[in-house]
């Protein structure tokens, strides 16, 4: 039962208010893409033990989707940010590196 801060409402939302949306920052591959590209988009999800970026929706709150950076091993949350971005913003990267010095974006 996680708590994540909704970046729109600014409140710590209980997991019962949220619905999960799995991996964040996926690039969509539509018609014209190769089988390998489509397979990677559709099925090949990262499952890291450590830093991970996820989509969450404040389903029983404001209804907005947002993204969360957290550690799948310790459940530590590095930050949440709006979904309208194609990659983690600098302050999130900085928060992760502050706590996971060896970590590099794109891992």
């Amino acid at each position: 039962m996680l708590t994540l801060e909704c970046p729109y409402c600014g409140i710590m939302a209980d997991e019962t208010e949220l619905s999960p949306g799995y991996e964040a920052h996926l690039k969509r591959y539509g018609p014209g893409s190769t089988d390998a590209e489509f397979e990677a988009y559709m099925f090949a999800r990262k499952n890291p033990k450590g830093v991970h970026f996820e989509r969450w929706r404040h389903a029983y709150g404001c209804g907005k989707w947002f993204l969360a950076a957290r550690c799948t091993a310790t459940l530590e949350v590095f930050g949440t940010y709006p979904a309208q971005t194609s990659g983690p913003p600098p302050h999130i990267i900085a928060a992760i590196k502050a706590r996971r010095p060896g970590w590099e974006a794109g891992q």
Binding site: M1, L2, T3, D14, G21, R28, P31, R57, G63, A83
Partner: protein, 990 residues
């Protein structure tokens, strides 16, 4: 004999006697007793039978760790099995019965198992019941089922109510002993919001029993003063009888408060489940004493040393006149001293250590108690009660030196800190040699969302056993304040088997897990058979898998395993602690979610009218929809047939309010809907409707419905009843996360409108009688919609049909729904209008070959399989699911496709039937080439009709195929077009 002492008992009130019964026998105790204490006071040492061998068992502990004294409590609607007598507070009228015996506790047939113990070793079930295969079903399983389980399951509905409460705090302190009170005081003084929960009915834990001093005061006065301070603080909440059962992610905690267990039927909820969100959890959960493994350590009368002390000091109960104390540490000497001070006899303290020189041994010796160091119990004598012990040297193999007559044995194998709450969420434990115990590894705590440690152990739970070591201001998030070896004189010498060189005969009588009958010899056998992992050994032997979850047995068990594998205890490691710490009754977990309020129900605005009309309701998601409206003397099948015929011949009314209604609006709304639907919605003219399909990105059909264009930039999307919330979420997902620069707004208006379908040849006449707008063929053609008023109600009328009949679906604001329905019923009387339910709807759509999401689709079906290629745009460059449908497997011409089936004999094909073909698969099952997806009796055709998916289906019209049936036979059916009625659409297009 166990009996009540004439004086003492710090927890009992001798002026308040309480009557209760045990196995029907009336007994008496005092207010403040636990059931176990009261039974002992009535000389009832025998309290149950073990699970596997049905051995007679007495109470061994005084708290939550008790494995033996499990009772059926109460009767009828208040019967609850497997309740620990040691934690059950006595009340006047309590009814208790022992478990797992037949015909009686004293004489039990199952005890025969005990004499066959050699034939029932570890893994017995796995080894024995494999062959011959047929024996499992017919011989072994019935016998095992007969003898499985401990208590009796209640058969009546629970008479009690349960509630759930939510709370938030900065610091939750679990455990109201000295360490917990001290930690709560420190946190509260620092201004934090504190909740302190104690599982028992008393504050203070063990310290008062042990005569401890705290910060220079006697424990009892320190406790009273600290409690008074805490109670006066507004930021502190104190709860007794409340067990912190589990710690979960990010400071989420479940706690179980037993409000009225000891006052049943007084009108209060029986239990309250707390759901807490805590900034930090301080586990002041104490420690549990370990048994010693010697032969006969399960004979009634053998108890933990601390339990013996509790019974004497707390409840003035003597477990026996002569108690032999056996130990490997100083702490058990407290028991000998307490017994002696109560005027009871301690013939000897058998100390497995070579020397015993601490303060407590000195005090015991000074009281004249004989201390025999280096000694052990070779075996306990007795059957249903201890009669004596045979003494041997610990270093040897068990050669008897002499016997001591006694009627109780107090044993102590050291103390295990209760690290459960620390471990529930991933905190690690580390072996401490000096304590011979696992203690929290403060370097690897469970982590909260902010990266800080979520749980901190204090006091005995952290391995700091001396109450004296609690310092003012200590215990909040700090561990270093207290030195771990505060009391080096109580040094323990690990003893896992007694005597250390015991042969197999003795080891086969040394119990590790009392409840599940796991012995030292069983664990050693598992090790010999190759079980090296403690998790595997646990499951193979069932060690620690009983209702007590190994609170007494785990450490001893894994120490024995480590020795058998010739490795150290840390190398073997410990099993994972999982919540709940002690069992939580299902009633508390369910809370108030039972009966009518089990889940929220969604009712349409016309629900009450349907109820009055005698509707039979079916669940559709959280909705309740009328399945049919059976009239007097009608079966449901009769009613459905009548509703279909009446609708096809006259006119029917359907409550379609549950249909999803999502408005999509904005400059980019058309472009957005073209991505969402397989067809084109941007070209739909204002005033028109179009049927659309939605697929997921894999290409599989997900939802369908009619879209109406309301204005230049506004569309209304109808979804399936069950799909409205999901599809709205799906739309928002794409708009917010993928096409966030598109200007589109969505709103789920499902509950804002009531919707009524007026269906049948007389539908237009009915609406014309209502009056107010032109509903003629010319003004409102098929697949058009119009806004206006009918009988004075503001309406939006869609000319769409899911039945093949002339049909209008009319939306009115929800507040007008009931009145408009009533107006339709009245106006419809001259035309034979009758309401119809969801089953008639289904039959009529199947007669017309219309698909239903969830019947024809199951998440593996694409629109092309269903002959819906016409609803897929070939021109569009992209839509959700297009790329997925291009995959070779989905583009394969050998996919099963939709056809209709007519049985040759007119019967109805069973639901779920397969079309069989030649040969069998690798599992010996008949090969299949298709399956039925919808199957009904058609009142219109008076025969069975069906739709289904069939290999190369559309190319096989006219062919006869075989369906399997439930009874094992087959039924022949002809492959036909799925549209059974009015193929040309003449009836709907009038």
């Amino acid at each position: 004999m166990s009996t009540r002492l004439s004086t003492g008992g710090r927890l009992i009130d001798r002026t308040a006697p309480q009557g209760f019964t045990f196995n029907g026998r009336p007994m008496r105790g005092y207010k403040g007793d636990t059931l176990a204490a009261a039974l002992l006071a009535n000389d009832q040492m025998l309290m149950g039978r073990s699970f596997k061998y049905h051995r007679p068992r007495g109470v061994v502990a005084s708290g939550v760790e008790e494995p033996n004294a499990l009772m059926n409590l109460g009767t009828g609607a208040r019967l609850e099995p497997n309740q620990r007598a040691t934690t059950t507070e006595l009340f006047d009228g309590l009814i208790a019965a022992s478990q797992n015996h037949w015909p009686s506790l004293d004489f039990d047939i199952g005890f025969l198992n005990n004499h066959a113990a050699r034939l029932l070793p570890a893994g017995f079930y796995y080894k024995t019941f494999i062959h011959p295969r047929a024996f499992w079903k017919h011989v072994f399983e019935p016998i095992i089922r007969q003898s499985a389980g401990l208590g009796k399951a209640p058969t009546e509905l629970d008479a009690d109510r349960y509630e759930q409460a939510y709370a938030f705090c900065d610091v939750l302190v679990a455990g109201g002993g000295i360490a917990g009170l001290n930690a709560a005081l420190s946190a509260a003084t620092a201004g934090q919001r504190v909740i302190l929960m104690e599982q028992s009915a008393h504050w203070g834990g063990r310290a008062p029993v042990d005569g401890a001093t705290v910060q220079g005061q006697a424990a009892e006065s320190w406790i009273a003063a600290t409690l008074a301070t805490l109670a006066a603080m507004p930021n502190v909440t104190l709860r007794l009888r409340t067990t912190v059962a589990g710690v979960y992610d990010h400071g989420y905690v479940l706690a179980d408060e037993r409000i009225a267990d000891h006052t049943p039927g007084d009108g209060r909820p029986r239990q309250r489940l707390w759901r807490l969100r805590c900034g930090q959890i301080i586990a002041a959960t104490g420690a549990i004493e370990r048994p010693l493994a010697f032969a006969g350590n399960d004979i009634p009368g053998v108890m933990l040393a601390s339990a013996v002390r509790d019974y004497v000091v707390n409840w003035a109960v003597s477990p026996g006149d002569r108690t032999v104390v056996v130990t490997n540490n100083d702490d058990a000497y407290l028991t000998a001293i307490a017994l002696k001070e109560a005027g009871l006899e301690v013939p000897a303290i058998l100390d497995a250590r070579a020397t015993a020189t601490g303060d407590l041994p000195s005090r015991a010796r000074a009281m004249g108690i004989r201390v025999e160091t280096g000694k052990a119990i070779a075996k306990v004598k007795g059957g249903k009660r201890v009669t004596g012990v045979s003494v041997c040297v610990q270093a040897g193999e068990g050669a008897v030196l002499h016997d001591i007559a006694c009627d109780a044995v107090a044993m102590s194998g050291g103390w295990s800190p209760v690290v459960h709450l620390y471990s529930h969420c991933g905190g690690k434990v580390v072996w401490n040699d000096a304590l011979a115990a696992f203690v929290p590894d403060t370097a690897r705590p469970p982590i909260n969302h902010d990266g800080r440690p979520m749980v901190v152990c204090v006091g005995a739970a952290a391995g700091h056993f001396a109450a004296d070591a609690v310092s003012p201001g200590g215990g909040v998030g700090t561990d270093g304040a207290i030195s771990r070896d505060a009391n080096p004189a109580q040094a323990i010498q690990p003893v896992w088997v007694m005597p250390q060189g015991a042969g197999i005969k003795l080891r086969s009588k040394m119990w590790l897990d009392y409840q599940n009958d796991v012995k030292v010899s069983d664990v050693q056998l598992a090790a010999r058979e190759g079980y090296e992992s403690v998790e595997h050994t646990k499951r193979y032997t069932t060690l620690g898998m009983a209702t007590d979850q190994g609170k007494l047995s785990n450490i001893n068990g894994l120490a024995v395993l480590a020795a058998a594998l010739d490795v150290t205890i840390p190398q073997v490691g410990t099993t994972t602690f999982r919540p709940p710490y002690t069992p939580v009754t299902l009633g508390a977990l369910a809370g108030e979610a039972r009966g009518e309020i089990f889940q929220p129900l969604r009712r349409t605005p016309m629900h009450e009218i349907h109820e009055k009309a005698g509707a039979y309701f079916e669940p559709v998601g959280l909705w309740r929809r009328p399945y049919c409206f059976a009239q007097q003397g009608e079966s449901h099948a009769d009613a459905v047939a009548r509703e279909v015929n009446n609708t096809r011949q006259a006119v029917g009314l359907l409550d379609a309010s549950t249909l999803g209604k999502i408005v999509v609006k904005g400059p980019d709304a058309g472009r957005f809907l073209d991505m969402l639907y397989t067809g084109v919605m941007s070209t739909l003219p204002v005033g028109k409707c179009r049927y659309g399909l939605m697929c997921n990105e894999q290409g599989f059909l997900s939802d369908d419905g009619v879209v109406a264009r309301l204005s230049e930039d506004t569309w209304l999307c109808h979804t399936t009843s069950g799909g409205a919330d999901r599809i709205h979420g799906w739309m928002e997902d794409w708009l917010q996360c993928e096409w966030w620069d598109w200007q589109v707004y969505t709103a789920n208006l499902t509950e804002q409108y009531a919707q009524i379908a007026v269906v049948g040849p007389n539908a237009r006449k009915l609406l014309q009688d209502l009056g107010g707008m032109d509903v003629s063929r010319e003004a409102l053609p098929f697949m058009g919609w119009a806004e206006g008023s009918l009988a004075g109600f503001p309406v939006r009328v869609y000319r769409i049909s899911f039945s093949g009949e002339l049909s209008y679906e009319i939306a009115v604001p929800a507040s007008h729904g009931a009145a408009f329905w009533a107006a339709c019923v009245t106006a419809g009387k001259p035309y034979g209008a009758m309401p119809y339910g969801t089953e008639a709807l289904h039959v009529m759509r199947a007669e017309k070959g219309f698909i239903m999401i969830g019947d024809e689709t199951d998440g593996t079906v694409i629109p092309q399989d269903l002959g819906l290629g016409w609803a897929i745009s070939k021109k569009k460059a992209d839509y959700l699911g297009k790329r997925g449908q291009e995959r070779t497997y989905l583009a394969n011409p050998d996919r099963w496709t939709l056809v209709g089936f007519e049985t040759l004999d007119g019967s109805v094909i069973p639901d779920g039937a397969y079309v069989i073909t030649d040969g069998t698969n690798a599992n010996g099952q008949r090969n299949t080439q298709g399956r039925v997806t919808s199957t009904y009796h058609s009142p219109t055709l008076n025969r069975g009709i069906a739709m289904g998916l069939l290999l190369h289906g559309t190319k096989r019209l006219g062919e006869v195929v075989q369906f399997n049936t439930v009874s094992g036979g087959t039924v022949s059916a002809k492959v036909v077009d799925p549209v059974f009625v009015d193929k040309d659409g003449v009836k709907q297009n009038v």
